[in-house]
Amino acid sequence: MPLIMLSSPHAHGGDSIRMIMLTVILALLPAAGVSVYLFGWMAVLLIVTCMLSALVTEALCLKWMGRPVSTLLDNSAALTGLFLALTLPAATPWWMAVLGSVFAIVLGKQLYGGLGYNIFNPALSARVILLISFPLNMTTWIIPMSAHMGAMEPALNLYDFSTCATLFFGGPAALQLGFDAISMASPLGYIKTEATLGVPVADALNAYHYSYLDAFLGFEAGSIGETSALALLIGGIFLLARHSITWHIPFTYIVTVLVLAGLFNALNPDQFAPPLFHFFAGGLILCAFFMATDPVSSPVTPMGQVVFGIGCGVITWSIRTWGGYPEGAMFAVLLMNCAVPLIDHYFRPRVYGHQRRSES
């Protein structure tokens, strides 16, 4: 007589982790495509390096911990690698990319027990570690191939493989170039610098030749995957349509930033950037649709997700406006990740038949 207990239900909808991860990877393809268009072989090299090293690290970790290496097939490590690559500047040297991937998998994920147990978004924690360890590299933005702005012309032909390979494996020194020669400021960084000099926002944007259309399409400086609002929105809507994520986090996150920016911009347009600028700038859309919605490190309850999104929005805008770093989206998500267990506890939905949320 068989003795293993199987509880109902004896039917299953057929969803799997692998498919969920694959959906997110698919949703990131438009952004990855734009990054290749803008940064040529640099983007390809970066994405391949990050994904490969993430997979290899994950495989080694699983082997050392005596867990089935077949877990690799759940696509989560590949996704982490892709996430990390898309948040890196195009000029990131190979060893930093590898280091970042190792950090993401080891510190961000496996030390906590592997998939499903990490507290912080692995890719973002690696990104922040890199930012704090190598601030220069992580804030140097190569001029993209299609920056339709001002006098900025790409200093390098990024569609040429050998140039890119040299830069990727040897750094700018191998091309007898300094960082300054091939890079430009990101809109956020530029505004921040000018703001400290007391230049009004509108003037700074003019001086930068800022164009909302370019920002929407992605023809501007920034991390390889974060520039194109269009591509990211397509991916985000795909995720929403496939029910991989719910609207709560992205919507509340972005709306919070827009509302705060709008309010302060109305109060003092010289000091505070307009909401649309915040919307397109930096990693907001990438973080809102892909990073903050990472299911493992975000709250599970709808109310919790709303709180999480609002928190992310407030912190992102505050850091961008007042903080020392030009971009706060990554920090915002990481900071809110810390609060997830408490949010989960305090923002549970009201259970059927109960007057209000049960006493905690």
Binding site: L111, Y112, G113, Y117, I119, L334, L335
Partner: protein, 193 residues
């Protein structure tokens, strides 16, 4: 008004005692295994820190400086803190024996919580006024409480995860604290203080 807000913001987030000044790590790790305990500890520390920073400011201004006894600063401050801790210990023992039991040795050890002495001495060094030193003490305590409770929430979650044996307990807690500290670095420069 703005100044008050800035002092609080600065001491709670930007210059968080635990995550950016690395003070009070011992109770931060010792009493964060459960959220309930962490909340209790937070209130105890908040009481001790706020009162200690005000009383020590008074003592500094009206006893030590007039009598030119600044060199006795540490002894006096420790005396104040020790007395306060004794007081709160009795209070908790009376009101919540379970919390008393849960905090265990860490309750009397608030005395040696360097964050408490730290805030008192920093107040003196930064030549704060009475009001600002009270605020600073309170803000620092709130910052301590905030990260302690957040951290306790995280640890409760880590507790049930299949963490590699090598990293179970304190190692992973320290790594997590490090990650929190990294995240809190995002606030740097938020308030120039």
């Amino acid at each position: 008004m703005t100044e008050i807000a800035l002092i609080l913001l600065s001491s709670v987030l930007v210059n968080n005692f635990v995550l950016t000044k690395f003070l009070g790590i011992c109770p931060f790790l010792g009493t964060s295994s459960k959220v309930e305990t962490a909340v209790g500890m937070s209130f105890a520390v908040m009481f001790v820190m706020t009162v200690a920073s005000t009383v020590s400011w008074l003592v500094q201004q009206y006893v030590l400086i007039p009598l030119e006894l600044e060199y006795l600063q540490t002894i006096f401050f420790i005396l104040i803190i020790a007395a306060l801790v004794q007081f709160i210990e009795m209070m908790i023992h009376k009101t919540s024996p379970v919390l008393y039991q849960g905090l265990g040795i860490f309750l009397p050890l608030i005395t040696t919580n360097c964050a408490v002495l730290g805030v008192a001495i920093l107040n003196v060094q930064q030549e704060q006024t009475f009001l600002t030193s009270a605020l600073y003490g309170f803000g620092a305590a709130v910052g301590f409480a905030l990260v302690l409770i957040l951290f306790a929430g995280l640890r409760e979650r880590i507790e049930v995860a299949p963490v590699p044996t090598l990293f179970k307990g304190s190692p992973l807690a320290l790594i997590t604290a490090g990650m929190m500290s990294l995240a809190f670095m995002g606030f740097s420069g938020l308030v120039k203080f």
